[in-house]
């Protein structure tokens, strides 16, 4: 979830049917000082970021920087073409008539911000066509919510402790999952 997060081979996870139980479970588990590795839900659940202690995404910064790149690319290219490389008189207008350039500068700003941000998004979210997703439970894209904990570096005592925490937090099912 966070930067440099380790992918585990083995997970233990609890399943919840209702978003309220799911959110309460996050609180009750984290109040025991245990960090949650992955929280799966079929739709964006409001307020989950703060509960999980996730940092706010920096996607908008990428969008802003890429948008500015678009602005200056368009302005630069148009200026170079119509003022330096091949100045042409169109209907007696000035070579460098900024108002006439505004539409294209605007469009290129939006284009670069949107396209760039989309690629940053799929990169950061580790999405690409054909990627095999590592999901603890397939029902989480339908109607279930899940909290998962990587157990590769854990002693069996700790795994039992997490199992207990999941059960006491209201998880309806607790399972383990191993990825090859």
């Amino acid at each position: 979830m966070n930067k440099g997060k380790k992918e585990h081979k083995n997970y233990i996870y609890g399943i919840y049917s209702h978003e309220d139980n799911f959110l309460n479970a996050i609180d009750s588990i984290r109040s025991n000082g245990v960090e949650i590795d992955d929280a799966y839900s079929p739709f964006p659940v409001h307020g989950i970021d703060e509960k999980l202690g996730l940092e706010e995404t920096q996607l908008h910064t990428a969008g802003f920087v890429l948008g500015l790149t678009g602005t200056f690319t368009a302005l630069g290219v148009i200026t170079w073409i119509s003022f330096i490389n091949y100045p042409t008189i169109f209907g007696g207008k000035p070579f460098w008539g900024l108002p006439a350039f505004v539409p294209i500068i605007f469009e290129l700003t939006i284009l670069m911000a949107a396209v760039g941000m989309f690629f940053v998004y799929i990169k950061r979210n580790e999405l690409f066509p054909g990627k095999i997703p590592l999901m603890v439970d397939e029902r989480t894209t339908d109607d279930k919510f899940a909290l998962a904990f990587g157990t590769d570096d854990m002693s069996s005592d700790n795994v039992d402790k997490i199992k207990g925490l999941l059960q006491s937090s209201g998880a309806e099912e607790v399972h383990t999952k191993s990825f090859e």
Binding site: E56, I110, V115
Partner: protein
């Protein structure tokens, strides 16, 4: 924490027995199994239309645009009418998903997916017309700013036609990304309930391997919000720039400063009408009445009456300004529209766009499926005539009386228009059978606040 918005508010998801699972079933069911017979019939008709399109466009490219009804006086007619009409239709999708997202309108979730698909397909149709009306389509790459070998001679950055190239292609790209980023989680839902390996594989590729973890959703929401913020000015700019194609010329009837807002309002108006047509059919055929409810239809009708009235005010303002300007040619252009050779087109436009939508001031009509359906067709006819009136009536009586002329379309003009409908419906029907027509994750996200099932539960808890 989830809670019901209000118990007296009209729910946006009907059905007291609805659960998250049921929502998935209801929506995904339409992509599973064999298509029903109605779908095959509709698809066959659409493909016939598409074939007609290929024939007519092929003939145009082979012979040249002389096969159209154009002459030296009316040198822009159905091609550009169709272009503006389709671009206008392509405005509602992004408006629904972007502007209504910024305004936090929850009713958006039932219709945004199909509306965005409609946008993309309409822009694809629109994009055909500038290409084929060039005449020499194989030199179409001249519209891009590339340094050719004769100069270097570049494109004209002062020309609204070039602005249009950038506006339409940007609009298409951004709408596509917006639509697709919303589709990924829903493709994952289809993937995870797929029965066969092949189906699982295809939908996994389409979903880009979506997992649905909290961090992915957090970025997803951030991306949707920023794309909405970017698309809102974009959608307004696109039709503004389309209107510049006319407004920056010196032809009486075109040379008016009211064009940008008037075109944008008209675009939203026609786009909503097309969404209404498609949704009324889709909800019935795909049994989605619980998700595209009468409340949704009524909301869209409210937008239609608002934008239709803005368009009406614009028509009247144009007439007033033409009179008030004291400029004889401008006055004649408008007199000629209403009472000249094309009076029938003008009054069809006025009736369909300004008069008939006024019925929607009455709640009874806004909530009537029958009235909504016919109104949506009227509006689309009216909006086609609006562009025809603006383009052809302003041209056909030019400054030299000896060259005054009457435009009549040839079979090729008509076939290309009907064919473009075939292209549109072929794409839309394929979409309706293979993609989730309603944004599953978004509908689930409003389920606990404004569905009939949640309200019922809340009521039972109180007692």
């Amino acid at each position: 924490m989830s809670h019901v918005d209000s118990l007296i508010r009209e729910p946006l998801i009907l059905g007291k027995d609805k659960t998250y699972r049921k929502i998935t079933d209801d929506i995904v069911r339409n992509t599973e199994g064999n298509p029903p017979r109605e779908w095959w019939i509709a698809f066959a008709i659409a493909v016939l239309g598409l074939l007609l399109y290929f024939v007519a466009v092929g003939w145009t490219i082979f012979k040249g645009i002389g096969v159209w009804g154009l002459q030296k006086t009316v040198n822009w007619a159905w091609d550009i009418t169709n272009f503006v009409w389709w671009v206008g239709i392509g405005h509602a999708g992004t408006l629904i998903s972007a502007v209504l997202l910024l305004f936090r309108q929850k009713w958006r979730t039932g219709i945004n997916r199909a509306a965005e698909a409609m946008t993309i397909f309409a822009v694809i149709c629109a994009g055909q017309f500038p290409l084929i009306h060039m005449g020499r389509i194989w030199q179409g790459f001249f519209i891009f700013p590339y340094a050719n070998t004769r100069g270097p001679l570049w494109v004209n950055f002062n020309s609204p036609l070039l602005w249009d190239v950038f506006a339409i292609s940007t609009y298409f790209t951004v709408s596509l990304l917006f639509w697709y980023s919303g589709l990924m989680p829903d493709f994952a839902t289809i993937r995870d309930r797929a029965k066969t390996k092949k189906r699982k594989f295809i939908y996994n590729v389409l979903s880009f391997g979506w997992r649905g973890t909290a961090k992915q959703w957090s970025r997803f929401e951030s991306l949707s919000l920023i794309l909405a913020g970017l698309s809102t000015p974009l959608v307004l700019s696109v039709h503004t720039i389309v209107s510049f194609d006319f407004a920056t010329s010196v032809i009486p009837g075109w040379h008016t400063t009211i064009f940008p807002p008037y075109f944008v309002a008209g675009a939203i108006f026609s786009g909503f009408a097309m969404v209404q047509t498609l949704m009324l059919i889709a909800r019935k055929v795909q049994k989605l009445e619980d998700y595209i409810t009468i409340a949704h239809i009524e909301s869209m009708n409210k937008v239609i009456v608002l934008t239709g009235s803005i368009v009406g005010i614009a028509y009247i303002t144009e007439l007033f300004i033409a009179w008030y300007s004291g400029y004889l040619y401008e006055q004649y252009a408008f007199y000629n529209r209403a009472f000249g050779d094309y009076y029938w087109a003008y009054w069809s436009m006025m009736t369909c766009n300004v008069l008939s939508p006024q019925l929607f001031w009455f709640k009874k009509f806004r909530r009537s499926i029958f009235v909504s359906f016919f109104m949506s067709i009227f509006v689309n006819i009216g909006m086609w005539f609006e562009r025809f009136v603006i383009i052809v009536t302003s041209l056909h009586k030019d400054f030299l009386v000896s060259s005054w002329n009457y435009f009549s379309p040839t079979w090729v003009d008509i076939a290309i228009f009907i064919g473009s409908l075939g292209l549109f419906f072929t794409l839309f029907l394929l979409f309706a059978r293979t993609f989730p027509v309603i944004a599953i994750a978004e509908v689930k996200s409003i389920f606990s606040s404004i569905s009939e099932a949640a309200q019922e539960k809340e009521r039972n808890n109180k007692h």
